[in-house]
C-alpha cells in the first residue's frame, strides 16, 4: 500500500509553530520580495484570498481581517520539512520525497491502515507542530486521490483510506477528472472526445483506446486507478537538469553596477547549489525583465553562452553571467527582476574540462568546496567574488529582496531562537 502524506498549508503552518497566538487566525505567506500570496491558512482561504494574488492588491482586505502576513522564510520551511521527512521515513518501508511538503510512503505488508494513518498524523503534529493529511491507496494515483478526499471530502478529517473495491468506487464516484493526479486540462478535452467524463469512466475505459488518445501516460493512469501500480517510487532524487536562481528587486533599476552585482550574486548562489549536488555546467543563461505590474514600456530579454568546457568554478560562471548581461542590458529599461540559469548540467566526475585552458579542475574544486564551507559557517557571502554582494550586509542595495515581514529563523540561527518567558506558576 502507498500513502501520500502532505502538510496542510505548509508555509502558513510553519509560521504558526513559533507564533502561539496564530491558531485559528488567518495567515498568509508572500512570495520572494513580498510579491504575491503563495500560501494561505484554511481561515485565509475562507476569506476568499486566492493563490498568486499580488500582495499590493489585497493589502486593505488583509488589514481589515487582521490577517497575519509573512514574507517567505525558506530557511525555516526547509528545516521543518526535513524534520517531517525524518519522522515519516521511520513509518514506511520505503519513501519518496515528492516536494517540500509531500511524501509518498510504501509498505510491503498488510497493516491496519486507519491506525497507521492516525499514528502518522498524531506523531508529526506532536513532534513538529505541523498538521498533515494522509491518503492511503494501493497505487500512488489512488493514494493521491485519497489524500485529496482526506482534506476536501464531505467528512474530511485528515485521513482517507482506500483499501477495498467499495471504498475506491465511492472515491472515484465522488471526484472529478481534474482531481486525478496527472490529468491535465488537455487530457480532459481529449477524454471527452472518447466519451469519458468521470474518473469511474476513465478507470473502466479500454486502456488501449486511452493510450491512442493520450499516450502511455494516460494508459498508466487507467491501470493505476484499477489498483495496478505503474508509477514506482523514486527514492533517489534524479539529477537536476538545470539550476535557476532569480529574484525580484526591491526597486527597479537600470544601473549597470547594481545589475552586475545582482547577476554575479545569483550566479554564485546557483553555483553553490550546483556544487552541493556535485554537478558541473556547460552553459550559462541570464534573463532580465521590467516590472510587469508597472505602467512602463515592457522589456524582457535573455542570453545564454556556451562555456568552452564544463565547470563548477564560481569565478568563471560570474564572468559568463556578466558577459550575458552585457548583451541584453539596456540603459533605457529599469529591470525589476533578473535571474541566472546553469544549463546542461552533468556529474562533475564526468565533466569535460576546457581544451584550451590548463586549469587543474581538482584544485578548482577543492577551492570552491572550501569557499562553500566557509560561507556555511560564517554566513552567505563571507567569501565571494568581488562583483557579487554580501547578503550579510543587509538591504543597502536597491536590488535586494524586500522581505518586510520575515519571521525569525527559529531553528537554524542562534540569534533568532524563539523566546520562552520564565514563569513561576505553571
Amino acid at each position: 500500500m502507498y500513502a501520500l502524506v502532505d502538510a496542510n498549508s505548509f508555509y502558513a503552518s510553519c509560521e504558526r509553530v513559533f507564533k502561539p497566538g496564530l491558531e485559528g487566525r488567518p495567515v498568509v505567506v508572500l512570495s520572494n520580495n513580498d510579491g504575491c500570496i503563495v500560501a494561505r491558512s484554511k481561515e485565509a482561504k475562507a476569506l476568499g484570498i486566492a493563490m498568486g494574488v499580488p500582495y499590493f492588491q489585497i493589502r486593505d482586505l488583509l488589514r481589515r481581517h487582521r490577517v497575519a502576513v509573512f514574507s517567505s522564510n525558506y530557511t525555516l520551511y526547509h528545516d521543518l520539512s526535513r524534520r517531517v521527512q525524518d519522522i515519516l521515513r521511520r513509518h514506511g518501508d520505503e519513501m519518496e520525497v515528492y516536494s517540500i511538503d509531500e511524501s509518498f510512503l510504501l509498505w510491503h505488508r498488510p497493516l491496519d491502515w486507519n491506525a497507521v494513518g492516525r499514528g502518522i498524523i498524531a506523531e508529526v503534529r506532536r513532534w513538529t507542530g505541523i498538521p498533515v493529511g494522509v491518503g492511503v491507496g494501493p497505487t500512488k494515483t489512488l493514494a493521491k486521490l485519497a489524500n485529496h478526499l482526506a482534506k476536501r471530502g464531505a467528512h474530511a478529517d485528515g485521513l482517507h483510506v482506500l483499501d477495498s473495491p467499495g471504498a475506491i468506487d465511492a472515491a472515484l464516484g465522488a471526484t472529478e477528472l481534474a482531481d486525478i493526479w496527472g490529468v491535465s486540462l488537455g487530457f480532459i478535452r481529449r477524454l471527452a472526445s472518447l466519451g469519458i467524463g468521470t474518473p469511474l469512466e476513465l478507470r473502466d475505459a479500454d486502456p488501449r483506446e486511452v493510450r491512442g488518445a493520450m499516450g502511455v501516460v494516460g494508459q498508466r493512469i487507467v491501470y493505476e486507478l484499477r489498483g495496478v501500480g505503474c508509477i514506482p517510487l523514486e527514492a533517489e532524487q534524479p539529477d537536476k537538469k538545470n539550476i535557476c536562481c532569480s529574484r525580484s528587486f526591491g526597486e527597479a533599476t537600470d544601473d549597470w553596477p547594481a545589475l552586475r552585482e545582482a547577476v554575479c550574486t545569483f550566479a554564485s548562489q546557483a553555483a553553490m547549489k550546483m556544487r552541493r549536488q556535485d554537478l558541473a555546467t556547460g552553459r550559462v543563461g541570464v534573463f532580465i525583465q521590467t516590472d510587469r505590474h508597472a505602467r512602463c514600456e515592457q522589456y524582457a530579454a535573455s542570453w545564454t553562452v556556451r562555456l568552452s568546457g564544463q565547470t563548477n568554478d564560481t569565478r568563471e560562471l560570474c564572468r559568463a553571467a556578466t558577459w550575458c548581461l552585457g548583451k541584453i542590458h539596456r540603459a533605457e529599461h529599469k529591470c525589476k527582476k533578473a535571474g541566472v540559469l546553469l544549463l546542461d548540467l552533468c556529474r562533475r566526475a564526468g565533466a569535460q574540462p576546457s581544451l584550451f585552458k590548463s586549469i587543474d579542475s581538482d584544485r578548482v574544486n577543492a577551492l570552491m568546496m572550501t569557499v562553500d564551507r566557509i560561507n556555511q559557517r560564517h554566513g552567505r557571502g563571507a567569501i565571494r567574488v568581488a562583483a557579487a554582494s554580501a547578503f550579510t550586509l543587509g538591504p543597502s542595495r536597491t536590488w535586494h529582496l524586500r522581505c518586510d515581514h520575515r519571521s525569525p529563523r527559529y531553528t537554524t540561527c542562534w540569534n533568532e531562537l524563539p523566546v520562552a518567558v520564565a514563569s513561576a506558576d505553571g
Partner: protein
C-alpha cells in the same frame, strides 16, 4: 624505438613504516549535541527571558533544549503556550496553557 615500450611500474613512493598501534581503536570525538539531543526531529531550542526560575538553574538568556515527543508529566519543566507567547514553567495537570514540549536540558554559557 623498435617495438619496445617503456612501462612505468611504480612512480610514487610507498610509506612502509610501522603501522600506528592505535589503528582500529579510532573513535569519534565526543559530541555534546548528540549526548543531549535524543530525538533531533522533535527537538527545538528556546531562549529564556526573565530570572523568575533562577533557583531551577534557568536564568535570563539560558538556552532550553525542548523535546516535543516526550509526554509531559506533573512537575516537569515544560515550554507551553500562554496568551500568545511561550512560557517555561513546572507542569501542573489540568493547567490551561497548552504544552509544546518538555525541557530536557538547560545550557548556560559563562
Amino acid at each position: 624505438m623498435g617495438g619496445g615500450h617503456l612501462l612505468i611500474l611504480f612512480s610514487d613512493s610507498v610509506s612502509a613504516g610501522f603501522p600506528s598501534a592505535a589503528e582500529g581503536y579510532e573513535d569519534e570525538p565526543l559530541n555534546l549535541h548528540n549526548w543531549i539531543v535524543r530525538n533531533p526531529a522533535a527537538t527545538f531550542f528556546f531562549r529564556v527571558s526573565g530570572d523568575v526560575l533562577c533557583d531551577e538553574h534557568i536564568r535570563d538568556g539560558s538556552l532550553l533544549v525542548v523535546d516535543r515527543s516526550i509526554e509531559p508529566s506533573r512537575g516537569r519543566l515544560v515550554v507551553a503556550e500562554e496568551e500568545g507567547r511561550f512560557i517555561v514553567a513546572r507542569h501542573r495537570v489540568g493547567c490551561e496553557a497548552r504544552v509544546c514540549g518538555v525541557v530536557i536540558a538547560v545550557v548556560i554559557r559563562f
